[in-house]
Structure formats: structure tokens, C-alpha cells
Amino acid sequence: MQIIKDKQIIDDSWSYISDDAELKAGDISVSPARWNKDKQQLLHHDGKVGVRLEPSDSVDDIAEDLKEIELIELNFPAFADGRAFSHAWLLRNRYQYTGEIRATGHYMPDQVFYLSRVGINAFNLEKTEDLPVALSTLSDFTVSYQKSTN
């Protein structure tokens, strides 16, 4: 599995563990509900731990634990759902989160430029063949009118 991270195409090791599945070794992400429920166990997990937010989740719910969370995935059930854009902005600007923020799910490579501007630095695309296009869109614009996170 390959993704874009910090403007490079790299191999990826993370996997998402759904709420009803057993935790497994290695780098895993879980839902905020799972994180809150199994926090003690997860803090001693053999591997890195991340949290996957859906658009309907609130960033505030994991705000206090951000130091312990090494990856935040922002999942897109549909590309038109723009809430993740504000979630990323809040994580970077309001909560000063410095770890990896990764977009996952159903979004377009054409959204990667805006996603990067609100602070997302890793992209797991629906179709790996879109990786080169997505990478190239990061240089679509050399100027911008507003401050965001960059």
C-alpha cells in the first residue's frame, strides 16, 4: 500500500481497526469511541496508535489526548463532505497538533491541494493510480489570498 506523505510517495504500514475487531500488533488507528474506551490498553500498544475521525466526530473529543496520538486520519465518506477541512484546520491551529494528519476514504486527487493547505500532510487515496496526479496537484498554485495553516 502506498500513500503520499510530506510530498513523497512512500510505503505505508498503518491499518484501521474497526470497533468490533480485535486489536492487532503494528501501527493501527481506531475510532474516537474505541480510543476512549480502550485508552489504557492502547497506550501500551505494541506499535503506534492513531485515531480516525469521521466528519460527524468532533475534534474536541480527542483534544486532551492529542499528545498520545501519533496519527489522525480524517475520513471522507463522500468527497463533497467538507467538514474534514475544518477539522484539519482546528487540529493544526487551535490545538497545535504536530503529528501526521492523513486524509482517507472517498475524496478526489483534485482536493489534495486544498487539503494540504488546511494542514493535512498525508494522503491515502482511493485509487493508488491517482497518486502521481495527486502529487502533482500540490503544485497547482504558487500564490494564495488567505492564511490557512501555511
Partner: protein
Amino acid sequence: MYQYNEDDQTLIEERVAQFRRQTERFLKGEISDDQFRALRLMNGVYIQTHSPMLRIAGPYGLLSSKQFRKLAHIAREYDKGYCHFTTRQNIQFNWPQLERIPDILEELASVQMHAIQTSGNCLRNTTSDHLAGVCTDELEDPRPYCEIIRQWTTLHPEFAYLPRKFKIAVSGAKLDRAATQFHDIGLHLVKNDAGEIGFQVLVGGGLGRTPIIGQVIRPYLEKKHLLSYLEAILRIYNLYGRRDNKYKARIKILVKETGLEKFTQLVEKEWQLIKDKLELSAERIEAIKTQFTPPAYDSNAAEDTSFAQHQQENQAFATWVKHNTLHHKVPGYRITFLSLKAPDSPPGDMTDTQLDAVADLADQYSFGLIRSTHRQNLVFADVRQVELFSLWQKLDALKLATPNIGTVTDIICCPGLDFCSLANAGSIGIAKEINEALDDMDYIHDIGDVKINMSGCMNGCAHQSVGHIGILGVDKKGVEWYQLTLGGSSENEAAIGERLGPAVAKDQVAKVVTTILDVYVKQRLDDESFLDMVKRVGITPFKEEVYADN
């Protein structure tokens, strides 16, 4: 007028290149219809009944003669020789080919124009008072703030995938000519008790299928906080606006369902956290203001006497002056309307020849600038009175001098069934029938200020719910019917029109309109306007007459 700097130019050129690549990928089958839809809409491209439609931004309605010549060129080379001015001060082309749209956009970029965010669920073109800077009732020119907002909204990364479209209007005058109470955000320049000018902020207004009048969320906002406050509102909307039902997705529904008080608290809380980091500096405001300084007016303009004389000698000219020109804040100048409502042409349409000719006239008579209005007409803002007679003759030859501004034949009309795939009913044809039924100019002038707004479906592109007379096309088992409303207004005393009664058949609409006007003429008091009379007597007298036969 705002002139692009290097960065502005780079940005729109990069946008064209981006859309060219996206269109190529779509045509090769690498982007799905659904995904391309979102991308093309944010570049103004709709797919319509016959062909794509391209909507170009007219930033707060201000255009130059050079830009008009470019529109003429595009109409000739890429379309069928005409274009359409919309109620949001934009320009639409009805017949471009998708493959050639990137080329059109490139042509536009060469004259500092674009189609960015003219449709789609994003921050749209900011609109304003078409008399900004020249009217006599203005506190401050709103256009510098419109430009600041234009820049802020353009390619805003966080707010490109909102629950629904989002429209902002700004006004600086006593009379609200920008329908700010019917925008997602309306901004009014106002003075506080200390005599400083800032903004009154309204939120949650809108038309469409659920017309709602905007409410004041902040009575006074310092100018330096303009962008942070907008950002706070947009962030709350982006996070909490409904996404489950597109008819409930506008901010007006969020405000209504949350309650204004709670909604205000959410916004104010967000704003407190960002306001100090996003201040608009006084220098920045001043720098933008210098791009909107008044032109070099002739201080002797008022000394001319020929203007009065021509009016005495030529009744047609005098009538035109009375209806199609307005007082200017500088003595000796008149604000001049170009009517795009000639009886035999679709409201708001212009041919390539007219566009080129208007560009030349603008250069000759009005400092090379043209404005488009909310009621689908054009304005030359700064015409010396001494030149009005010769301008009138030229406009008349171009069929742009119908003396009907603000009258019953100055109809706002959407494209309806002729072009629009969402339409239930035709509208252009009905506008023509109304024109034919009202072919007596003296009668039209006697009736005075009556605003007819007509849309071909519930989406309400022509603001029918705020028309003094609103006409809405509805579909009844595949047949076109029309629902009428009376008493709407988008000005200061904003009101949503009341339903007259059951929908009427297509061949009855013009007759119903003339019946309504006859009732008005018979029952009005002295110089009572149509709207005032409707307010006084309600709809009953009209209803009785219109439905008398049933």
C-alpha cells in the same frame, strides 16, 4: 476599479491551467461525472438542456470596456453571438462547448476575469450596490470591502466544500439595492455611537424554495474584524450545517433550527479565538481604497444649459432622462441606466454587437467603466449631463434606451424552459407576452414602480418571492402553470410576497398581470405606489378581480 497585481494574475492563470488539466482528464474518462461536476461547477460550468452554460464572475458588478470587448469576442467566437446578465451581476454564456471552455477561461484571464466559484457549494461572487460610489444616499463606498472579500473567498481552502452555496452582499447606502437581507451574509456599512464606520452583519437570509429574511447577528463590527467574523460564521456553518438534505443545507436553515441566539453564541465564541490573529490592517484597507478613488470629474459640468433645453424640446429624451437616469452626487453628472429589457429581446441578454458598442460608449462617456445591476440592466455611473443627449441617441439606435427602468416591463426573468434543465415552465416567452400586453409607454409610466420577477421553478433564480408581482412556473402533470404572489420586496422593508390564489394557465398570465395593474390603477390613492397599495389593501381586491370568472 481594482487592477490585478502580479499575484492576482498568476492565481487566475494557474486556475485556468488547473481546469484545463481537469477537463482533459475528464474527457479521457479519468474523472467520474459526479466528481467532475463538482470541479466544473466551481469554475462556472453547468450542463444545461442544450449545452454547457458558463457563468463568469462580474465582481460586485464592475466591469471595464476592455472586459466588455472580450465578452463580445467570446460571444462571437465561442457562442451564438450573445450573452446574458444575471441577477447576481454575473454573465452567462449559453452555448459554449465543454472542450473549449479552458480556452474561454484563458481569454478571460487575459483581461483579469474568471469564472471561479460562480456556482457550486462554495463561497460565491460577492455582490453590491450598483450605484456604489456615486449615489447620494451612501455612507461609504462598499466596493473596497467587496474586493477584500473577493480575495478572501477566492480559492479559500477550508470553505470549498460547504453544505451548500454561500452568498455575501455588501451595501453602504441608506436604500438597500443589493438585497442584503436575502443573502447568506449581508453586510451594511453603518455608523456607531462614536461616529465610526463599521458593519452591521446579517445572517441567514435567502430566497430559493424557502425564502427567509436575514437577521442581525452583530449590530456593529469594526472594519478590522471583517474577515475574522466571516471566517467564524463560515467555520460554524461548515461544521454544523446540514448535509443530509440539500433543501435544508443553506445557512438559513441552520440559523433557524439552532435559533439565532444560540447560533450567535457559537459564532462569537469561535470569533473570540481567532479575531486577533486575522486583523485587517488599516493600511490594507487604505491600499484597496486607492483603487476605487473617484474619476477626474469636470468641476464645470453643472454649468451646461443644453441638457435642460434638450429635455424641453424633445419629449422622448425627457422621458428617458426621467426614467433611465438618476441624480449623481457630483453636480452636472447623471447616473445612466442601459435597459436590457427591450420589449422584443429576452430580459438581460446582449448581443456581441451591443457589447462592443457599449464598450466604445463607456470609453467615450463614462470613464471606460460599466456596471451590471441586480435587475439585469447596465449602468454608466458617471455621465456628464451635457453629453446625455448624444449618448441617448446612440443607445436608442442600439435598442438600449427603452425608458422602462424600474417599471413593470423591467422584468427580472430566469432562462426557464428555454435553457434550464431544472425548469418547470417557460419564462422568457411570458415576459414577451407581458411586454406585448403592455405596449403603451404612457400607461407603463403612469403605473410607475412595479417590479415583476419571474422564475421557471422553485429554485427562484429570478427572486420571484420578493417581486412586487412574483411569477413562479410550476409543473402540473407535464403542463406549465404559474403561481402569482403580490407584495414582495428585497429593499429596506423586505417582505416575501403573498400567494394570490391557485396557479393560472400559461395563456392567462399576461392577462392576470394586466388585471392586477388595472385594479391598482382604479383603487390607488393619489400617488400611492403599487407596493404601498398592496400593503394597505392586502391581496383580496386583486384576487376577486383575477378569479372573478371562477
